[in-house]
Amino acid sequence: MWKEIGDREMGKIRPNSFSSQIKSNRISNLQLSNNKDIVSPHRGSVNSLQVDLTEGRYLLSGASDASAAVYDVQRATDYEGNGLIAKHKCLFSVDKQHEKGHKYAISSTIWYPVDTGLFVTGSYDHYVKVWDTNTTQVVMSFKMPGKVYRTAMSPLATSHMLIAAGTEDVQVRLCDIASGAFAHTLSGHRDGVMTVEWSTSSEWVLITGGCDGAIRFWDIRRAGCFLVLDQSQSQLGRRPPVLARSAANKVNVSKSLSAGQNSLGKQRAPQKKVSNGHGMKQSTIGRMPTNGSVRQRLHPGMLSIQDRATAHYGAVTGLKVTDDGMYLLSAGSDSRIKLWDLESGYNTLVNFEVVRLQTSKAIQLAISQDSAQVFVPCMTVVKAFDVWSGKMSLTFRGHYESVNCCWFSSQDQELYTGGNDRQILVWSPCQLITDDTDAGRTKDEDNWSD
């Protein structure tokens, strides 16, 4: 460590590589924190964790007993054990007793990305509520057609304030805070939508993963999704070699052209255009009989409904985009984690050695800032994998029951995990407990008890 500082001083190492070396050293030393403890007031399993994106100071958690709580992770509320253990109690919590609180489990809590004045909660009682942090009052409330599995707001958005909500209904709804109404709905999934994430490279791109195993990319300015990830289309490596990709592209283009020609060519007579939404659903169901029967003409943006490619053999339970917006990690209930190259839309075939993943609930993945490690809750442990090779590097064993969510704070290299055992655990790089406090005591005391 001192050698690195000396090199930085002499200019041999650049500042960015110096800080990333130190950060990755600290990450490889992560273990259950021996000096920080978060006291969780929840009486149900912790479903969602997020540290705010502006300051990195406040941790928001949501639990199955309809309670949401905020903690300050940088300043402790009180100290124990001779000032060695910092206890972080919650600053406030809202639960069922609150006059407008949720009635059933809260599945997702997120901060308003611009500042910590607002936060959004989504719950199994079909409501998405926007809360004012300082007064802890509900500012706005949106009713959804089904249980809300996940909500998300874009961290890059400058021109819109949309909350994307994935529910057990097949349509993804966008709620607008500015107007208090729904902006529009995105249809294309064939089953409930379990995970929603905004892209980190564009404020208009939304990525959703459904219980039907498909991952779809939506540009919210247009109708229909522009990309559906297919697990059978893969590339051998992080970036495809130039020649191989153009050959693979030609194969795919010809396949999709032939499929498109088949579907359009089998029209018997010109039909009037069917409007999007309800009518579209009826026409897709009517297309099931196999003998090339009469097809409705589709709006070109809605052709993606016919694309039934799946990214996983089960439901998609977790999604995470890397910070540079180039790769996507997806976890499925088939206990597989896949890494997708977003520019080409292919599976990079990196194999993460996962034995079992939780299948009934969504899990929250976390990724380190330089996209080198991904933290995955696997049943009762959290495992850290190297993103590019798929090898497991660390295991965090501490929870008594399944872990649901984890959040990595890249500012102080700390990992927060919440699970079914109602605890929120902090994992930080090991710190030496100095003997400063002991030196003040009399040195003549020995260790015998009286």
Partner: protein, 267 residues
């Protein structure tokens, strides 16, 4: 010729020496040679993907090499219905031999016009390399041979070349014909082996005596099952000072001390 080589491979090389290979293709060929002889059913050797994972150290390398072998039409991959994400791998020549065998048997029974099998072999197998095919595409590819009727597709399903799985009603999955009883034996054998380890007091056993046991419910041999379960993470190998032993993997319920054995798959 093959049977002599098989019996040699079976007797002389024990699993302990043969547990890991350097390359996916080498692993595939060795495991194909070690495929057990099954008397009642005529089936060509196939390899499970989990067996490959237990044999080659780097799983990403296995996936990528398998992908390039599939694209070069050396092997074919089938999704099996024995559980989550189980895949079977067969060399293309073996698969074509198996298809021939089934077609000959159907010819003997005179079950209807069999030109669909020729169309299937020439048009569909050659061009569609993925494990599944959509309904429209199947019709389109078969029509390159002649007029296709629904009865033709039913013939293919009856012969066991295509099946449907619960995931998607509109999608057909390629299947290895005649494999049904073996897949049943596979899942029963897995359960039997796991319960064998579960009944022991410390849930572990030495590899040498374990290998000599015969599974009652499965036509496949112990080595096949051991490789499969090691690769899917249900059991793991550990070293005692002298020999190799097999331990049952279990998710710990409370925080326990890490054992100091060398383990290939950690908790």
């Amino acid at each position: 010729m093959d049977s002599v080589a098989d019996s040699d491979a079976n007797h002389s090389i024990s699993l302990e020496q043969n547990l890991s290979f350097s390359d996916t293709l080498v692993a595939l060929q060795m495991m194909r040679a070690q495929f057990p002889q099954i008397d009642k059913v005529a089936i060509q050797p196939f390899i499970l993907q989990s067996q490959l994972y237990s044999s080659v150290k780097d799983r990403t390398q296995v996936d990528r090499e398998l992908e390039s072998l599939r694209r070069d039409k050396v092997v074919r991959i089938f999704k099996l219905n024995t559980g989550q994400d189980d895949h079977g791998i067969m060399f293309l020549d073996d698969y074509l031999k198996q298809v021939e065998h089934v077609v000959k048997r159907m010819e003997e029974k005179k079950q209807g016009d069999l030109e669909v099998f020729k169309w299937f072999k020439v048009h569909v197998i050659e061009s569609k390399l993925e494990p599944s095919i959509g309904h429209q595409e199947l019709y389109a590819l078969l029509s390159l041979g002649g007029r296709v009727k629904d009865e033709h597709v039913s013939l293919l399903i009856n012969a066991g070349l295509l099946t449907r799985q619960l995931i998607d009603p509109n999608m057909y999955w390629f299947a290895i014909p005649n494999i049904g009883s073996i897949l049943k034996g596979l899942s029963q054998g897995r359960k039997e082996l796991l319960s064998l380890l579960n009944r022991r007091r410390y849930k572990e056993m030495m590899l040498a005596p374990l290998e000599k046991k015969r599974l009652r419910l499965s036509p496949l041999d112990m080595r096949f099952h051991l490789r499969d379960l090691i690769g899917s993470g249900h059991i793991k190998t550990g070293h005692t000072p002298t020999v190799l032993n097999i331990r049952l993997m279990e998710e710990p319920r409370t925080i326990v001390m890490q054992s100091c054995d060398v383990a290939i798959n950690a908790g």
